[in-house]
């Protein structure tokens, strides 16, 4: 059991918010790099030839809905409703996997169309930025998977609500980063 904190906030939660603040700066530098080099390609293929807005809108919707499921998992564990906690944790991880599947398909499609990582400025900055985000999603899916397994083993109950809340903070952060990337990369081509 965690002891009292001088800040009035649980140390683990404060640590997660501090981590999220530092992650803002990480993504800030990657976004800045992408924006600086946007429109400066000297060889194709160019972004407007490849970006599939309807497809990415669907995967964006999937990630947004995974955030809803995450917050429902937290609400369930706070009520000590373990059955629903398991369901929502599983659904959140599943939607995260669907998003990753979409990203894998998109990357594969780009490479197939002649846009590997080092082809031009767009490909370098695009793959690094969205790939870093995808890595975070993958980490979140693994984290949610471990929580789901613990819940299945009966090792997760209402006394662990903060553990789920902290995983949720990470997951929602991954979602808000995608909200920014969706606009900056796909809609403001």
């Amino acid at each position: 059991m965690e002891g009292p904190s001088s800040t009035g906030v649980s140390n683990r939660k404060l640590a997660m918010w501090t981590f999220i603040g530092s992650e803002c700066m990480l993504f800030g530098t990657l976004i800045a790099t992408y924006l600086i080099y946007r429109g400066r390609n000297v060889v194709g293929p160019y972004p407007d030839e490849l970006l599939n807005i309807p497809f990415i809108t669907v995967t964006t919707f999937v990630l947004l809905m995974s955030s809803l499921m995450m917050v429902l998992a937290l609400a369930a564990i706070e009520r000590n409703d373990l059955k629903k906690t398991k369901i929502w944790l599983f659904m959140t991880a599943l939607f995260g996997l669907i998003f990753l599947g979409g990203q894998y398909y998109e990357f594969n499609h780009f490479v197939h169309e002649g846009l590997p990582l080092s082809r031009n400025l767009f490909s370098s900055t695009f793959f690094v930025l969205t790939g870093t985000h995808g890595g975070h999603v993958a980490g979140g899916v693994i984290w949610l998977g471990t929580l789901f397994v613990r819940a299945t083993q009966g090792k997760l109950d209402a006394t662990h609500a903060e553990t789920v809340e902290i995983a949720g903070l990470y997951w929602h952060f991954v979602d808000v980063i995608w909200i920014v990337l969706f606009t900056l990369i796909y809609l403001l081509v």
Binding site: M1, E2, G3, P4, S5, T7, G8, V9, S10, N11, R12, K13, L14, W17, T18, I20, G21, S22, E23, C24, M25, F27, G28, T29, A32, T33, L35, I36, I53, P54, T57, T60, F61, L64, M65, S67, L68, M70, V71, L72, A75, A158, T159, H160, A161, E162, T163, E165, G168, L169, H172, F173, D175, V176, I179, V180, F182, T183, L187, L188
Partner: protein
Amino acid sequence: MSGKSGATAGHSTEPHVSNRFYVAIAVILAVFTALEVMVFYVEALAPFLFAILMVLMVVKFALVVMFFMHLKFDRPLLTGVFAGGLFMAIFVIVALMAVFGKFG
């Protein structure tokens, strides 16, 4: 560390928000995403595209942070920690874009 809830250390001060409220937030997020895509395809809105998309993006961002991440109901210290990183990131983006001549 056991990983149990740190009730003594200040678990979220949020009021009990109903699931229906969370669903309502998700519906707003979905509708705003649809609006973003619609604006993207409507040529008549092209002159306002940047402004509209930025407003919708900021509102969606704020909704998730305030309600799904419970920052609206939590302690101000956490808002400060997050806002510090966020504003520094925005500053870095704007400064680098200025340095590289992206503002004309």
